[in-house]
């Protein structure tokens, strides 16, 4: 009998291995440096957005605005940042500060994060549409260079994913701030009584989400080379699904940065897998829903065993 707790931690990796194995089986040519590079190129922005969502979920909130935010960052970087770098950087920093302010507002007024971020998603989208009414703009050459950077032997997206996962893991799972942040999701009252400021913790977590949303937008722009306000609308759902696939829970501060990155990789691969499967385009979205349900069903089985033992 395998320890259910271990099994639960291994589940994200198992899901990734299954999807990867199935993809290789369907299309053996993808089992190469080039094939993996191509299939996983969009995994980097998705992984960064997933990490951003994870910070918010850690403090028991949910961010429904991350997709449009990623789009807005791309729009700013493809327009203002080119013509007036100082203004562009200031605008991007202002976006991160805005995230922190929203976190403070949610905390101080005890507001439902779902509604506030839903409203916020309109604000991001609106600003992006005002700056760039139709797709266009141009990625700064530096971003392009970073995103097309090639590492020998191992595809760049995999290296990037490992680095992102490792850094966030170290920060959130091993530092004392990480413990407080996760505790804020686990038992905020206990931490408040112990003298920690929940306001401060929440604001920092929201700003971290802003930072990773920013990185996601910049990396996405590096890949697409031109910007579109709507380019990342789906990222909201991807990021939530990625966190959950990676073993995170909606409440209780139970999250896993490495799991989240693996979840994002699984989602990015699932898209390619479904194309190779040649199922009718009508059922592409449905198949993604089915994959989600299957993974969650497996986890439900494991969790039941975990509760019993």
């Amino acid at each position: 009998m395998i320890n259910p707790r271990l099994l639960r931690a291994a589940l994200p990796f198992l899901s990734l291995a299954i999807v990867l194995g199935a993809t290789f089986y369907l299309q053996p040519r993808t089992m190469s440096y080039f094939g993996l590079n191509l299939m996983l190129q969009y995994a980097v922005p998705i992984a960064l957005a997933t990490i951003a969502q994870m910070f918010i979920i850690t403090v028991n909130d949910l961010d429904l605005s991350i997709g449009p935010f990623v789009g807005l960052v791309g729009v700013i970087a493809a327009t203002v940042l080119n013509t007036d770098p100082a203004l562009g950087i200031a605008a991007l920093l202002a976006c991160i500060i805005a995230y922190g302010l929203v976190g403070a507002l949610i905390h101080l007024r005890n507001l439902p994060s779902i509604v506030v971020t839903l409203g916020l998603s309109f604000v991001w989208l609106g600003i992006a549409v005002m700056i760039l009414p139709s797709p266009g703009g141009k990625a700064p050459p530096l971003l392009r260079t970073i995103m097309t950077f090639s590492v020998p032997y191992v595809p760049f997206p995999i290296v990037a994913a490992i680095v992102i996962g490792a850094i966030v893991h170290l920060a959130l799972m091993t530092t004392s701030f990480g413990v407080i942040a996760r505790g804020a999701g686990g038992n905020p009252k206990a931490l408040t009584r112990a003298g920690w400021s929940m306001l401060q913790t929440r604001v920092i977590m929201y700003m971290l989400a802003g930072v990773f949303g920013l990185l996601s937008g910049l990396s996405l722009l590096g890949l697409t080379t031109s910007a579109d306000a709507h380019v990342a609308d789906r990222y909201t759902l991807y990021s939530i699904a990625g966190v959950i696939l990676g073993g995170g829970e909606f409440i209780g501060g139970r999250v896993s940065p490495i799991g989240a990155v693996v979840g994002a990789l699984t989602l990015a691969l699932a898209g390619a897998f479904l194309i190779f499967l040649r199922i009718s385009p009508d059922w592409q979205i449905g198949a993604q829903g089915a994959i989600l349900i299957v993974v969650l069903a497996m986890r439900a089985l494991i969790t039941t065993r975990e509760a019993r033992s």
């Binding site: 005890n110 604000v123 989208l125 549409v129 409440i251 009508d282 449905g286 969650l296």
Partner: protein, 316 residues
Amino acid sequence: MTALRARLAASPWLWSFTAAALVWGLAAAVTGGRGAGEILTSALAFGTFTVIVGLGQMLVITTGPGNVDLSIPATMTLSGVIAMKVMDTESARILLGVAAALGASFVVGIVNYVLIRLLRIPPIIATLSSSFLVLSSAISYGRGLRIKPPPPLADFATIRLGGLPLVTIAIFALSLLIALVLKRTVYGRTVAAIGQNERAAWLAGLDVRRTRFITYVLSALLAGLCGILQSGFSGGAALNMGDDFLLASIAVVVIGGTSVAGGRGNVPGIWGAALFMFLLVTMLNIFGASPGVRLVMTGLIIIAVITAAGGETQAR
């Protein structure tokens, strides 16, 4: 002033009507009072559809934190597509089409409940995943064809009685019924009890499972009803017809004074909030705002309203 504040605190739904009245007044002031009545009736006509899905979403949200039905837009689309295809523009087949569409919605409700209950998936993710499957079914079944609704259905969805849309009157009656159910029946009281403390409700011997099942099925059925009426109203079903309703269904419930933490539902507030949202769009249009400005203003005003209405301390 203090009396007003106390009254507002006691009946959270007054907020949404106050906000709606303010926006209406502003819009009327800009046009110099011309067309103020027409603005209100068209807001009622459009707002009614949001109210239908809002009623279902309100019941779901009232059953406690984490309960949200994200499959509403997909269910609307599936229902609309099925209704139009089964009716096939023939008046004689209207009842058959309605039955088929509501039957499919019923199945969606059951699937949602089964996912939540058996797989113990958080409702947000359960309804999100099922919505992907439902949307795919709608795409696959509808084949992108736009079939016109039979004339009697189109008439029912668009006709006005004494200036008021017939659908609005019908849905108003339905709202009264749901308000009664919520306040006076065992089911309604159980919904609130579960939202306040699920464990306490279970220990008190209330049937938590059955209540949750009924709630998700009702939400799906109401989404289905909205899909049929919306198809009749706008001359057929479209695959993106549900898109706007995801935000709207949640926003009208919360702005309308229903507690997001669960345990306290509010029917009248949904009407006020739906009116507010549509009057807001109308007002911004009258001001000649660009699409970007309109989006930003809508977002900011939603945040402002929820901030003003304030959160509450969650009882744990």
